[in-house]
C-alpha cells in the first residue's frame, strides 16, 4: 500500500490523476473502520489532511458559504451554527465528540451513505458540491450528487473541494430518529429549510431511499399552499391540516427498505411525523422573526 500525503491541492489532484484507485482519506471515520476490519485494502491512501484550503471555510464572491471539504463537524457547529443552522443541527447528531472532531462533511459526501446526516440539510439548502481534477472544476447540485447506494457523481480522478451553501435566509430544521442520542446511524432523517424571500421550501430525506433525496412534490405543495393563503406575508399560524398533509407527501417521496435498524413501515411513518413537526417548528420560528 502507498501512503500519499500531498501538502497542496494541486499535488493532491495530480496524485489522484496518477493513481485513480487511491482512496482519499480525510477524518478516517469511515475509511479506517473499513481498513481495520479488512473490508478494504486499497492500493494507496491519499491523505488530504495536509491540504490547508480543504480545512478552511469562507464567503464566496456570490455571498454563499464555501465550506472546505475537510472542515470537521465540530467546527461547523462552533463556527457556522448561525449561518448554516440546518447543517449544524445535523452535525450535532453525528457520532460522538471524538467522531465530530475528526469527521468531515466532505467525507460524508465521499461515503454517500443514504444515512449520512449532512445530506438532508445540504439538499434542503440547495447546496452545490464543488469537485475538481487535473481536468478542471465542476459544481454539482446536491440533488444530482447522490447516484446510488453509497455512490456519488465523482469521476475516478476527482476529489471533493468544497460545498457551497447560501447562508440561511429563513428557519431550518433537522430531525433524526435513532435508538439513543449519541452514536446513532439514522433510522430515518429529515431536513427542512424555508426560503421566505423566494417563497420556496427545501427538503431532504435521509435513510429512507437508496440515496438521500428531496421531496420536491411535498415542498412545492407546502410553498404553494402558503402562498395561496397569503401566509408568507401574514405570518399567521400554520394550519394543522396543512402540516399533516405535507408530512404525508414527504412520506410518499420515500422508498425505504426493511433492515436491522428499522422496518420500511416505521421509516415511512416516522418521516411523516418528522416532516410535520419540522414544518411546524420552522413556521413558528418564521412567525417569531416578524
Amino acid at each position: 500500500m502507498d501512503f500519499l500525503a500531498p501538502t497542496t491541492w494541486a499535488d493532491a489532484l495530480a496524485a489522484k490523476a496518477e493513481q485513480p484507485d487511491a482512496v482519499a482519506l480525510a477524518g478516517g471515520t469511515d475509511v479506517m473502520v473499513e481498513i481495520n476490519f479488512d473490508h478494504r485494502r486499497p492500493p494507496a491512501l491519499l491523505d488530504l489532511t495536509r491540504v490547508p484550503e480543504l480545512r478552511e471555510w469562507g464567503t464566496d464572491t456570490d455571498g454563499r458559504i464555501r465550506l472546505g471539504s475537510g472542515v470537521t463537524y465540530t467546527r461547523v457547529i462552533d463556527e457556522l451554527g448561525d449561518r448554516l443552522p440546518g447543517l449544524a443541527m445535523a452535525a450535532r447528531t453525528v457520532g460522538s465528540p471524538q467522531i465530530r472532531n475528526r469527521g468531515t462533511v466532505g467525507g460524508n459526501l465521499g461515503a454517500a451513505s443514504p444515512a449520512g446526516d449532512s445530506h438532508p440539510p445540504l439538499l434542503a439548502a440547495d447546496a452545490e458540491i464543488e469537485v475538481a481534477s487535473v481536468r478542471g472544476v465542476r459544481r454539482i447540485p446536491a440533488a444530482e450528487f447522490y447516484t446510488g447506494v453509497k455512490r456519488n457523481a465523482l469521476a475516478p480522478d476527482e476529489l471533493i473541494a468544497a460545498v457551497l451553501i447560501a447562508p440561511a435566509s429563513g428557519p431550518q430544521q433537522f430531525c433524526k430518529i435513532g435508538t439513543r442520542n449519541a452514536m446513532v446511524i439514522a433510522v430515518s432523517a429529515f431536513g427542512l429549510a424555508l426560503h421566505p424571500q423566494r417563497r420556496v421550501v427545501g427538503t431532504g430525506i435521509g435513510s429512507a431511499a437508496p440515496t438521500p433525496r428531496r421531496a420536491d412534490a411535498a415542498a412545492e405543495f407546502l410553498a404553494g399552499e402558503l402562498a395561496a393563503a397569503g401566509l408568507w406575508e401574514s405570518r399567521d399560524a400554520l394550519p394543522e391540516g396543512l402540516a399533516v398533509e405535507f408530512g404525508r407527501k414527504v412520506r410518499d417521496a420515500a422508498a425505504p427498505i426493511d433492515d436491522v435498524r428499522g422496518s420500511a413501515a416505521y421509516r415511512l411513518h416516522s418521516l411523516s411525523v418528522m416532516a410535520r413537526r419540522a414544518a411546524s417548528w420552522a413556521w413558528d420560528d418564521y412567525r417569531k422573526v416578524a
Binding site: F3, L25, N181
Partner: protein
C-alpha cells in the same frame, strides 16, 4: 514507512509502520505506549482516545501516517511521573475504575472537557463522555469522579 511525531512532549520515531495502520496500533505495538486501549477499532467505544494536535480523537481511526509530524498526548502524558493528574486521582478515589479498560479514554475525554468547561453541568458531562463506553461501572461513579475532578481543579 517511518513516522516521526511528538508524543507526550518527546520526539519519537516509529519504523516499519504499515501504511494502513492506525495511530492506536503504532502507539501500542511500536512505541511502547499501551495506555490507550483497543476495544473496538471502529470509533464506538472511545477507549483509544488521545489528543491529536490538542483535539481528542479516536486513535483507532487516525492513520499512523496522518500523525506524522503532529503532536500526540496520550493518557501516559497527563500525570507528572508517578504523580497522577487530578482527573486520574478522582477516578481512582471515586471508584470509577473497575476493569479499567475504558479508563484511559475517559480520562482523556474528561481532561478535555474540564479544560474547555471547568464547571460542567451533569448533562454537559454526559454529552462530553457520550463517545466513551464503560461496561462495568454503570457510569454513576464516573459521573462522581468527573464532578470531583472539577471541584479539585478549583
Amino acid at each position: 514507512m517511518r513516522i516521526n511525531l511528538t508524543i507526550n512532549g518527546e520526539r519519537r520515531d516509529a519504523d516499519d509502520v504499515w501504511e494502513g495502520e492506525s495511530l492506536l496500533y503504532a502507539l501500542r505495538e511500536r512505541l511502547g505506549l499501551p495506555g490507550s486501549k483497543n476495544a473496538c477499532e471502529q470509533g464506538e467505544c472511545g477507549s483509544c482516545t488521545v489528543y491529536l494536535d490538542g483535539t481528542p480523537v479516536c486513535s483507532c481511526l487516525v492513520a499512523a501516517g496522518q500523525a506524522d509530524g503532529r503532536e500526540v498526548t496520550t493518557v501516559e502524558g497527563l500525570g507528572q511521573g508517578e504523580d497522577l493528574h487530578p482527573v486520574q486521582k478522582a477516578f481512582v478515589e471515586r471508584g470509577a475504575v473497575q476493569c479499567g479498560f475504558c479508563t484511559p479514554g475517559l480520562i482523556v475525554s474528561t481532561h478535555d472537557l474540564l479544560q474547555r468547561n471547568p464547571r460542567p453541568s451533569d448533562p454537559e458531562i454526559r454529552e462530553a463522555l457520550a463517545g466513551n463506553l464503560c461496561r462495568c461501572t454503570g457510569y454513576e461513579k464516573i459521573m462522581d469522579a468527573v464532578r470531583d475532578a472539577a471541584e479539585r481543579a478549583e
